[in-house]
């Protein structure tokens, strides 16, 4: 066995160029797949993290009432009851945001833009200050001006407003009445790329006034936990506590297999009637159910790439090993004559293939690490259109060890398979025929 392995290893160095080409092809395959895996590994995490910042929460609680006309009114009146739940469920809470919002039309000198406006309590929204990058103006000026607003630079440009300009806003109150107000532009945020027009930020006090709800009321509670990994167990505990204390919608989960769980819950509230406030709990994972699907698709794609790439490489390996067998036919005959058994001849080729695969795979992993390391050093910045995929402006990669091992195993197996037929042919040659072949 040791002899066979020694010869196999040395045989690899006989035709260095050929070994490098084949090993290089294997390395390339492993490299591509590893990079894709690494990317998709951190994809969910980064997207979730970024969304949790944009949406200001890992777990959300909405309150819904039925208006006299049977319409849904979004409101949480009894903050004490909801806040008590957080303590009850012993949640690992980092921040809690209490927000109100509306979708209204901003009007300035004849220009109109439809815009989500979120009412925030900036004193408690440290989180938002970390996330939102201002291009001009400052966060301090917003609480000072009750009617102040922060718009994204893009929206400001569309409306052609400057800092200090006053604009009109048209909206519907919580109960669906038409209402009008006035905003002053206090700051402009850097365009957050893909979700550029997502939100404008204003003082919750004033937004509540526009919505015609009391100052201590709000529409949505966003809970940010210590870690994104705690979402599911924390949400389960909170929901359990909620069900016992409050009138609560049945929770739909992302893994229940009914498409978008959030949409399902919205639809449910439309068809039901009730008295008072009914509460709804959902999580970032529910909202991002589709992201996991994207990741699954990425992983399947990488597997397909691996297999296709390797079917191509396999053809090369099979042909090369056929050639090798022919080149060394006299050697094979000699070894057989001297007393080497058939299966040892076969193993000789298989070991050579295995060493090639492992060498190539290791080189591929090293190359992938270098490339991933280099890519993650680049500061793309959080104002790039792909910011949602980034972590603090950098691409990140996360590999799961068993996945890397599985890739290497698949490659080793396919390489062995590719070499098996030529190896078996070599082993089955009659020694006389092998020795007698003139080449």
């Amino acid at each position: 066995m040791k002899t066979v392995m020694t010869i196999a290893l040395r045989n690899l160095s006989r035709q260095k160029k050929r070994s490098f080409l084949l090993g290089g092809a294997i390395a390339f395959g492993i490299m591509i797949v590893t990079i894709i895996n690494g990317f998709s590994g951190s994809f969910v995490e980064n997207v979730s993290e970024n969304f949790s910042q944009l949406l200001a929460g890992h777990i959300f609680i909405d309150g819904v009432e039925k208006s006299a006309s049977g319409k849904d009114v979004s409101i949480i009146r009894d903050d004490a009851a909801v806040s008590a739940l957080l303590l009850d469920a012993k949640l690992p809470v980092k921040y809690v945001n209490r927000r109100s919002s509306f979708n209204g039309t901003l009007i300035f000198e004849g220009k109109k833009v439809l815009q989500d406006v979120v009412g925030v309590d900036l004193g408690n929204e440290k989180f938002l200050k970390d996330r939102l990058v201002l291009q001009s103006g400052s966060f301090e000026s917003l609480p000072k001006d009750r009617q102040g607003v922060i718009l994204s630079a893009d929206i400001a440009r569309k409306l052609n407003v400057q800092i200090g300009d006053r604009m009109l806003v048209q909206l519907k109150t919580a109960t669906g009445q038409q209402n009008v107000g006035e905003f002053t532009l206090e700051a402009m945020s850097v365009n957050p790329g893909l979700l550029g027009s997502l939100s404008a930020y204003a003082n919750k006090d004033y937004v509540n006034e526009l919505l015609n709800i009391a100052p201590n009321e709000y529409q949505q509670m966003g809970i940010i936990l210590d870690s994104i990994n705690q979402i599911d167990p924390a949400a389960d505990r909170l929901y359990a506590a909620m069900k016992t204390k409050l009138n609560t919608f049945e929770r739909k989960k992302a893994d229940s297999g009914q498409g978008n769980p959030l949409a399902a819950m919205m639809k449910q509230s439309k068809t039901e009637t009730w008295q008072g406030t009914k509460y709804r709990l959902y999580t970032l994972n529910d909202i991002l159910a589709q992201v996991q699907q994207i990741v699954n698709a990425l992983n399947i794609a990488s597997l397909v790439i691996l297999v296709v790439l390797f079917l191509i490489i396999m053809v090369g390996i099979t042909n090369t090993f056929r050639m090798i067998m022919f080149e060394r036919i006299k050697e094979i005959g000699t070894m057989r004559a001297v007393g080497m058994q058939k299966n040892e001849v076969r193993d000789l080729f298989l070991w050579e293939a295995l060493f090639l695969a492992i060498g190539g795979a290791l080189a591929g992993l090293v190359a992938a690490s270098i490339i991933m390391g280099a890519l993650s050093l680049i500061n793309i910045g959080m104002n790039s259109p792909v910011f949602i995929l980034l972590k603090n402006g950098h691409l990140t990669f996360k590999l799961i060890p068993w996945q890397v091992l599985a890739n290497v195993a698949i490659i080793a197996l396919l390489t062995l398979l590719a070499a098996l037929f030529p190896a078996r042919n070599a082993a089955n040659l009659s020694p006389a025929a092998a020795l007698g072949t003139t080449k």
């Binding site: 010869i7 070894m335 007393g339 080497m340």
Partner: protein, 240 residues
């Protein structure tokens, strides 16, 4: 004592749509310890006969008996083991393994079977063989650094390393100049006498035929002469 026995051996090779009858019913016996020359013109069947004796090919019909064992009906595994234990090979074009150095080439057959010697014994034995063929300084060189004559000496040492009863050599001097060829034959003869190994070699060089104990002359796949020579008789006690 008879160590090789061929009985009515025929070998037919397919050749395109026709056939070639390379051996047309050959039979002879070989005595243990003899130095045997298989002679004949090109195409007469020398290599084919050596392949049969060396068990690297099987006859179309007839029987081959090696060291008292009938080889017909043995499995490939058994035949391979028989080759390993009983037969050593020397080839016309040396056939050393290029990735192994001289010592490793000679050691190679020992690593294939069950290993009976201890490490030190084995090392001493290989070193002895290397000295015997005069290549001690070349021990750690690769074959491509050696001349043809030197390579054939390595091949001789490799053929002897398993202490086989029979060594087969198919035109061992054909790729060497005549002086080197003679030296190789001398060496084989010396070992044949010292170790009492049976040597069977093919050649069409009649000078070489002269030093054989037993000459088997072939023509067109048939034995036309089969005689033990003066050498055998004068060499004391090995007569039939």
């Amino acid at each position: 004592m008879t160590i090789v026995k061929l009985e009515n051996v025929r070998k037919i090779y397919p050749l395109g749509k026709t056939e070639v009858e390379a051996l047309k019913g050959v039979g002879f016996e070989i005595e243990k310890g003899d130095f045997i020359s298989i002679a004949g013109p090109s195409g007469s069947g020398k290599s084919t006969i050596l392949n049969m004796i060396g068990c690297i090919d099987t006859p179309t019909s007839g029987a081959v008996e090696i060291d008292g064992r009938a080889t017909g009906g043995l499995s490939d595994k058994e035949i391979t083991k028989l080759r390993h234990d009983v037969i050593g090979f020397i080839f016309q074009s040396f056939n050393l393994i290029p990735v192994l150095d001289i010592y490793e080439n000679i050691e190679f057959p020992l690593l294939l079977g069950k290993q009976t010697q201890n490490k030190k014994e084995k090392q001493e034995w290989i070193d002895y063989l290397i000295a015997e063929v005069g290549l001690t300084q070349w021990k750690n060189h690769r074959p491509n650094e050696l001349s043809g004559g030197q390579r054939q000496r390595v091949a001789i040492a490799r053929a002897l390393v398993t202490k086989p009863r029979i060594v087969l050599a198919d035109e061992p001097t054909a790729n060497l100049d005549s002086k080197t060829g003679e030296a190789i034959i001398e060496l084989m003869k010396k070992i044949n006498r010292e170790m009492e190994t049976t040597f069977i070699f093919s050649t069409h060089d009649f000078k070489i035929v002269g030093i054989a104990d037993h000459v088997i002359q072939l023509k067109d796949g048939e034995v036309i002469e089969n005689r033990r020579t003066e050498n055998a008789r004068s060499d004391g006690g090995k007569n039939a």
